[in-house]
């Protein structure tokens, strides 16, 4: 069963991520996901100030605004997709992710399977 792990970083008062994990921490985590065969996909996102949101209104007009995160205390910093036997195993991997520390959180969501 596949699960999406959304990596949310906490922001300090100046809007900078509070995390203090190092690139080595992330490389180690990435490596252990791949070596245990559960890794499906994963990416880290560029700085959230580069984000834009697109909506199309009822007249078909395109409305582009800058990132919707200005007021947010947390920002999506990346994601992984893992394939594991059950929810508890997914939660175990989330707990090992460096992004779960320093005020950050990992939201774990099962991918819908339409075979049901």
């Amino acid at each position: 069963m596949k699960y999406l792990m959304l990596i949310n970083a906490a922001l300090d008062a100046d809007g900078a991520p509070t995390g203090c994990s190092t690139p080595e921490d992330w490389m180690l985590f990435d490596k252990s996901l791949k070596e245990s065969g559960v890794y499906v996909a994963g990416n880290s996102l560029a700085d959230f100030t580069t984000a834009a949101a697109v909506r199309v209104d009822e007249r078909g007009e395109r409305i582009v605004t800058d990132g919707p995160f200005a007021e947010s205390r947390e920002v999506l910093g990346g994601y992984f997709v893992v394939d594991v036997p059950d929810f508890d195993v997914a939660l175990d991997w989330a707990a090992r992710c460096p992004g779960a520390r320093d005020g950050g959180s990992i939201v774990v969501r099962p991918l819908a399977s339409y075979g049901d």
């Binding site: 069963m1 036997p85 059950d86 929810f87 508890d88 195993v89 939660l91 099962p110 819908a112 075979g115 049901d116």
Partner: protein, 414 residues
């Protein structure tokens, strides 16, 4: 109608069997819905057959065989369902234990406890599922426990089961290294069932004993399944030691009788003895746990012949341990009351007044009620009356309000 009475007692027997059977079927088929469906069908079949054919020599095995046959039938009828479950079953079989040689059901309920109390489920769903799947209550009974319409509870249980299936929350006992993180969640569910039963937060009756007794029954099951876990012993001890006072806690008209005024001759001595023995088990062999310490406090109350000769210094010392384990304004409130008993009402009142800015106590009726009590003992009756009026506005049950009104009258007419 003797037949109906016989049916009722058979259903009570099934309440215990139900959880065992359900857990074994969940283990086998990896699906709570299917397991529930065929558990009910097997019990219905037993209700029809046993009065005619007699109770089989191994009732558990009979029920299991019947339920399994019905599950296989269902899977044959519904191929898509079967295909989906097949994936799960491979994994369930891998973990399945060998059948016991006497053909009786192995007790698989522990894994079901952990599934029902899974932290990914909302707290209310955990309690509802535990009552439904492990206590064996019917959906209308669970609905009554929550004071919600049956249809609402039915929907909530279906939603919770869907959540377990869609997220694939597993049916398994956490490994030894995860257990300390997960067991408190299971104990919390059982304790919340107890506290709801003991002091119903709303409604006309102060106590709903059936819920308290269900919680004790669930804790007994956990105690058998996890004999080495001291906090399980502590939780069971705490509930027994509190429940032992049930008869003395309400007066003739269903009104609340406080600990001070209870007729201690009506306390259940056998239950106190059982609880006290469990306190010893809970507090030996390691650092004290939350439930163990609370049980020790309850034991000191239960073993004292009256309020005055209660070992208040020891109770204050236990609250000191408790505030170290789990600091909270409610613990501080209870400690302040114990200090008032040890050192006099003025000392207790000073501690209470230091808590008056606590947001969590602002809407908590025992806080102004305790202030009212200490103020009236100090002879400050006008302030006491005002505190009792605050408590009255917050109290959730009618017996609690009746008690506060009596205290208020005592302050107003010295």
């Amino acid at each position: 109608m003797p037949e109906r009475a016989a049916d009722a007692s058979i259903e009570m027997v099934f309440r215990e069997e139900r959880g065992l059977l359900l857990a074994a079927l969940v283990r086998r088929f990896g699906d709570l819905d299917l397991a529930e469906e065929v558990t009910s069908e097997a019990i219905e079949a037993a209700l029809v057959r046993w009065p005619v054919d007699g109770v089989p020599p191994k009732p558990g095995a009979w029920l299991m065989t019947t339920a399994r046959r019905k599950a296989v039938d269902r899977l044959r009828r519904d191929q898509a369902y079967a295909a989906r479950l097949a994936v799960l079953q491979v994994e369930a079989d891998r973990a399945a234990p060998a059948p016991s040689p006497d053909g009786e059901l192995p007790d698989e309920r522990l894994q079901l406890f952990f599934t029902c109390a899974h932290p990914a489920l909302p707290a209310e769903d955990r309690t509802a599922l535990t009552l439904r799947c492990l206590a064996g209550l019917t959906t209308p009974e669970v609905a009554r426990a929550f004071l919600v319409p049956s249809a609402t509870m039915g929907k909530r249980i279906v939603r919770a089961k869907n959540r377990i299936r869609m997220a694939r929350i597993p049916f398994r006992v956490p490994d030894a290294d995860e257990l300390p993180g997960r067991l408190p969640g299971v104990l919390q569910v059982v304790y919340s069932i107890f506290t709801e039963g003991y002091a119903a937060s709303s409604g006309p009756d102060l106590q709903r004993l059936d819920l308290a007794e269900e919680a004790i029954r669930l804790a007994r099951i956990l105690r058998r399944l996890l004999p080495a876990e001291r906090e399980v012993a502590g939780l069971l001890a705490l509930m027994l030691l509190v429940h032992a006072r049930r008869d003395a806690r309400t007066g003739r008209d269903g009104d609340l009788v406080l600990l001070d005024d209870q007729d201690r001759g009506r306390w259940d001595r056998a239950m106190i003895e059982e609880g006290a023995a469990l306190v010893v088990a809970a507090l030996t062999g390691g650092p004290p746990g939350l439930y163990g310490v609370q049980a020790a406090i309850a034991a000191l109350h239960d073993e004292a012949p009256d309020v005055a000769s209660t070992d208040w210094p020891q109770i204050v010392a236990l609250y000191d341990v408790l505030r170290g384990l789990a600091p909270s304004p409610v613990v501080e409130l209870n400690r302040a009351v114990a200090v008032a008993m040890r050192d006099g009402p003025a000392a207790g009142l000073a501690l209470l007044d230091a808590l008056s800015d606590e947001p969590r106590l602002r809407e908590y009726s025992p806080f102004p009620a305790a202030r009212g009590d200490l103020l009236s003992r100090l002879g400050r009756l006008t302030e006491a009356a005002s505190a009792y009026r605050d408590a009255l506005a917050l109290a959730g049950t009618e017996p609690e309000r009746a008690h506060l009104r009596r205290r208020l009258t005592e302050c107003s007419t010295p």
